[in-house]
């Protein structure tokens, strides 16, 4: 892991008495792609604005490269932001937009021209110098916003839901573009989104947030495969979160049936939640699996079929490439390493909430 570049220390912030961030602590490393992920109102954008200097925290410190920058205004910070809905200067040409920061830094005209060419090449919009922002599509405007930020050679680029306004296809394209740009530039990206797929695709590290608290920090794989609590499990992808009892290490009782698992250290006969991803639920012939159930719903999703199977009074969400018609009796089988055991939520904040995205 590279050296720490940014530290947020005990950051709290409230608006009109409403707590948005509560003693948040976060370290961001050099050359890392960090994504702050969470539903709206979780505090992710506020965290980014505190980093950019547009909002000051009520308490706590922001340390950048060993220096306390908490009270330094945005125009004196060594980081640049790509805003939601681009925020281009519509009265200036593309070249003037990109040159804006460089002119303030009193760079020479030839340096500025070089930088504009370089930045437009990086974002694949060569030859757009004299166009006006309004004549560009949303995706192109977003690229210009990125170009305008990166010509200033920031150590960190902050991106506030930059792909939110684009359509699905373009969004996926831009995700790859962003990864490529980050690798070419070799700088730190701090990315804010509510889109879990975007977060999983691009990030080195995902910070899952909810109601002002960090729920889990980890790599996309660990966030997806080993969610630490019901909120994370529910927010990242679909999952079956089933009340269960940990009988002893590596053995869990789910809905009255005992399953082998790989988790340890939860104690004996302790109530827990078991998380099983829908693609990890294997449907087999009746009595060939651990429990029997009946298929109640079936939807074709393209890549797979999405089925609901009622077994032992729980509706299991199942993804499978094999079709089992509605009404068919099936057996359910789960491999031990696909069962993720979580402690029951201790506070309401960690409670899984229904989220519509």
């Amino acid at each position: 892991m590279n050296k720490e570049l940014i530290q947020l220390i005990d950051i709290s912030k409230s608006f009109d008495g409403q707590m948005v961030l509560d003693e948040l602590n976060l370290s961001i490393h050099e050359n890392e792609f960090v994504t702050l992920l969470g539903p709206s109102g979780c505090g992710k954008t506020t965290t980014l604005r505190i980093l950019g200097g547009f909002t000051s925290p009520d308490t706590g410190r922001v340390v950048f490269d060993g220096q306390d920058i908490t009270s330094i205004p945005p125009n004196k910070r060594q980081l640049n932001t790509v805003f939601q809905k681009y925020a281009l200067f519509t009265h200036m040409t593309i070249a003037e937009n990109i040159a804006f920061g460089l002119k303030i830094k009193k760079k020479t005209q030839s340096y500025i021209d070089d930088k504009i060419r370089y930045a437009l090449k990086l974002v694949n919009l060569e030859g757009y110098e004299n166009r006006m922002p309004d004549s560009l599509s949303g995706g192109q405007q977003q690229r210009i916003a990125i170009a305008r930020a990166i010509v200033n050679e920031p150590k960190v680029l902050l991106l506030d839901e930059p792909l939110g306004a684009l359509d699905l296809k373009l969004r996926q394209e831009m995700q790859y573009e962003l990864i490529r740009m980050k690798n070419e530039l070799g700088i730190t990206f701090v990315y804010v989104t509510h889109d879990q797929e975007e977060a999983l695709t691009m990030s080195d590290t995902i910070v899952v947030m909810n109601q002002g608290y960090i729920q889990q920090i980890g790599s996309p794989e660990s966030i997806y495969n080993e969610p630490e609590n019901a909120f994370v499990a529910d927010f990242i992808g679909d999952s079956n979160i089933i009340p269960a009892t940990m009988i002893r290490d590596e053995l869990v009782e789910i809905l009255g049936t005992r399953f082998a698992c790989v988790d340890k250290g939860f104690g004996e006969n302790k109530p827990v939640d078991a998380v099983i991803r829908p693609e990890d639920v294997m449907l087999v012939e009746p009595d060939a699996g651990s429990i029997n159930g009946v298929v109640t719903h079936l939807i074709f999703k393209g890549v797979h079929y999405e089925m609901e199977v009622t077994a032992n009074g729980y509706e299991w969400l199942v993804h499978s490439t094999t079709l089992f018609p509605v009404g068919k009796e099936v057996g359910i089988q789960v491999d031990p390493f696909n069962i993720q055991i979580m402690n029951k939520p201790e506070s309401e904040d960690e409670e899984a909430v229904a989220i519509d995205i």
């Binding site: 950019g52 200097g53 547009f54 205004p73 945005p74 125009n75 004196k76 640049n80 932001t81 805003f83 939601q84 809905k85 925020a87 281009l88 200067f89 519509t90 009265h91 804006f100 920061g101 303030i104 830094k105 305008r148 930020a149 200033n152």
Partner: protein
């Protein structure tokens, strides 16, 4: 075949034909003819005579000064209004629009009463043993009246244009290293040009053509071009000359309209 919806515009078309097009045609007819009905340009060239030119110059000067004063008062206010939260700004805007609900003539008469030699202000001043204010019947009084009456028409388009600037655009300027003053002159001011043009039009044109403010607060001694035209119609009954001078004034209005059309293509700064 005219579609059904277009018929809905008939009442207004009738109205505008009767009260806008026909009178305009009459102004043009009278402006380009003499008392015998023969074609002449004399009514228009009459603007060059000493008295008329002086009135036009004074009108242009006073309207210009009033517009500048309105702009300097309104811009900072509109900036503050554009920043305050939605809940409160409706109330603040109400305060500035409130005078507009009272009759224009009444408000100007009120100023006359206030400013008069034996008016309210001088009573208070003499009570406090301060020297009396002598601004009634001076250009200053006319400017005061113009600014007072037309200020809301400057505030609203400016507020409208400024509140449309995305806060993140200003944040982006700061983010790229711009200080407050640089951001103001390079970002905020240029982006509010539609509102500025619209505000200038809304103040300058009525100020240029007014005759009520100047006759009430100027005491009939300071003649603006509006007063001259008024006199031609009401006192000397020379409709031909009055119409000719009106047409000259319309040229200024047209120039202003062309300017606002150029700078405010999307109608962004347009009123209300």
């Amino acid at each position: 075949m005219i579609s059904k919806k277009k018929w809905l515009s008939v009442p207004y078309l009738f109205w505008s034909g009767l009260f806008i097009i026909v009178p305009l045609g009459m102004v043009v007819y009278y402006g380009l003819t003499d008392r015998t009905g023969a074609f002449t340009l004399e009514n228009i060239t009459a603007i060059a005579t000493a008295g008329h030119a002086k009135a036009l110059r004074l009108s242009l000067l006073l309207s210009f000064v009033s517009t500048v004063v309105c702009f300097l008062l309104a811009y900072p206010l509109a900036m503050i209004l554009a920043q305050v939260q939605v809940k409160r700004h409706n109330f603040i805007i109400l305060i500035f629009i409130l005078p507009m609900w009272m009759n224009f003539l009444l408000r100007t008469l009120a100023w006359q009463t206030l400013l008069e030699k034996n008016g309210v202000i001088n009573h208070v001043l003499s009570f406090l043993h301060l020297p009396a204010l002598k601004i009634i019947n001076t250009p200053a009084a006319i400017i005061l009246g113009m600014v007072y009456n037309f200020l809301p028409f400057m505030i609203l388009p400016l507020y409208n244009a400024l509140s449309k600037i995305d806060g993140n655009v200003i944040n982006a300027a700061h983010d790229l290293g711009a200080g407050h003053i640089y951001t103001f002159f390079r970002i905020i001011l240029p982006l509010s040009i539609p509102g500025i043009i619209s505000g200038i039009t809304m103040v300058f044109i009525p100020a240029l053509t007014t005759f009520v403010i100047s006759s009430l607060l100027g005491g009939g001694k300071l003649l603006l071009i509006g007063d001259v035209i008024d006199l031609e119609f009401t006192k000397t009954s020379n409709w031909h000359l009055g119409s000719g001078l009106s047409m000259v004034l319309m040229i200024f209005i047209l120039i202003n309209m062309v300017l606002s059309a150029i700078f405010d293509k999307d109608g962004e700064g347009s009123m209300l």
